[in-house]
Amino acid sequence: MAELAKYIDVTKCTGCRGCQVACKQWNGLPAVHTEFSGSYENPPKMGGDTWTKVRFFETEDNGKVRFLFRKAQCMHCTEASCAAVCAAGAITKDDKGMVVLDQNKCVGCKNCVLACPFGAVGFSAETGTSGKCRMCVDRIDNGMEPACVTTCPPGAVQIGEREEILKLAKGRVDFLKSNGVNAQIYGENELGGLHVIYVLDDKPEVYGLPVNPQAATANLFGSWVSALVGAGVLLVAPFWLIFKDSGKDVSETPDTGVSKNA
């Protein structure tokens, strides 16, 4: 099957948070007890019981405050860090490019929570497992759209084949640019290509997106190599140096270090 992608146009988002509620309802996720943080943004973080949320940002543009919104959720990365680090085999990528976490297999070690470059995986004390957006794969398999897409009143969130979504996004960016907006796409090439494609009207960092996200396992090989080189050093100094059996040292037993045929 062709790869799918979710399309999110931040310029159309009104910050109503209908997607947050629809996600919780369809996936049976409990409400989270939170306290007022000084912002309408709530809950403060994604987590095991909150798989999507609208993030709120304020910036100043020529003395005028801009109030910005971005729906955040799992990006369904091609190079998915969570799937790479999962030691229980609970996170897999399907043929549509969706990264799906099976809570029946998850043992709750939280490695994926720390591995995700987007902070999109959380731990739920209620289930004892990690949780994250699964792109409503069960709905898609039954010919329906994800819950957040169905519910979005201004049509800021859509789903489709990734190729088509990229075309749609490029068309929208061209339109916005022709109207003087500093528009750009996010997600086309990051981490091998995300399966969530954003249309942004400002730089990624303004919307709290990492400019150059790295896979959690990017450093893996180098870390092992540098440590094993170090292990070699440890083997010689201090162990060999201090504990070698001096009775058999070449400096004390004549001829052992010399070739008689030389």
Partner: protein, 291 residues
């Protein structure tokens, strides 16, 4: 205190695992290079190492969201998952180290009439085989505890390639300290204690170099994450606890102390152990400060 996904119990585990495997491989390596002169270190190494690793693995188990589902780990082996590599390294070490320990226990007085332990009596071949395998699995286990943190998206851990090396070196130092502590406690062979102290000094100097290189690089690439340790919330723990008490003071004590007293190496090894724990605590918590 900021919110953490991997809590203090993980720091204790990382510490115990490091001390345990390093006490074991210190015993094996010293005895290997000493051509059998340090059998006592190999024995004590297995007595310290195996129980500590088992305690550590149990701590890890209880920290899971669903401890009873841990067997899912045993259906998976994948190199991209450092956690998975670690599960298998721990299992391999516990089996090899455990058999090794049984060959030593079988020689103890209390085992004379024990038919179960008697099976392991005089099994020199099994002892050296499990010892050498345990040495390899032990070094890899000590390394994995650092690489585990490095394969995440926490800036402090993933922006350096030295974390596995740092934890390996620090583990070696704490493992030597644990052996020194046991020998000094039992007032055994002062000569071996001083050899261990000398070796530990070299390891500590190596550790200071690795720490310096690592934080020099981190300060350049991820200054915000590095400053949490160097000048932020964990600065006192880092400079006073880890560098001062855990690294510099033990070296001074080892250099200055008389060559006959048991008190000085005992104090130095306790300081090394405390410093080793603080290193893991500070790195674990500071790394999660900005998540």
């Amino acid at each position: 205190m900021h919110e953490v996904n991997w809590p203090i119990i993980l720091a204790i585990y990382l510490f115990l695992a490091g001390v345990g495997v390093a006490a074991f491989y210190t015993g094996i390596l010293t005895n290997l290079f000493g051509s059998g002169k340090y059998r006592k270190l190999a024995k004590y190494g297995s007595y310290i190492g195996v129980p500590l690793i088992i305690i550590g693995a149990l701590l890890l188990l209880f920290d899971l969201g669903r401890p009873l589902s841990f067997w899912h780990f045993l259906l998976v082996f994948k190199l991209s998952s450092t956690m998975s590599v670690g599960v298998w390294l721990l299992s391999a070490f516990i089996i090899c180290g455990g058999l090794n320990m049984l060959t030593w226990l079988a020689e103890e007085d209390f085992a004379r009439n024990n038919s179960l332990l008697g099976v392991f009596k005089g099994k020199e071949g099994l002892r050296s085989l499990t010892g050498y395998l345990g040495l390899i699995f032990g070094i890899l286990t000590a390394t994995y505890t650092g690489v585990l943190l490095a394969s995440t998206s926490a800036a402090l851990w993933s922006s350096t390639q030295f974390l596995g090396l740092l934890f390996l070196v620090s583990a070696t130092s704490t493992g030597m300290a644990a052996l020194m502590l046991v020998l000094a406690w039992r007032k055994e062979d002062i000569g071996i204690i001083h050899k261990l102290a000398k070796a530990d000094m070299i390891v500590v100097l190596f550790e200071i170099i690795v720490l310096a290189l690592m934080f020099y690089a981190l300060s350049a690439t991820v200054p915000a994450a590095a400053s949490v340790v160097l000048s932020g919330a964990y600065a006192v723990w880092f400079w006073v606890g880890i560098i001062g008490c855990g690294l510099v003071l033990p070296v001074i004590i080892d250099v200055a102390a008389s060559k006959k007293a048991f008190g000085a190496p005992m104090l130095a090894s306790i300081l090394v152990l405390v410093g080793g724990f603080l290193l893991r605590y500070v790195m674990l918590y500071a790394g999660q400060a900005h998540l």
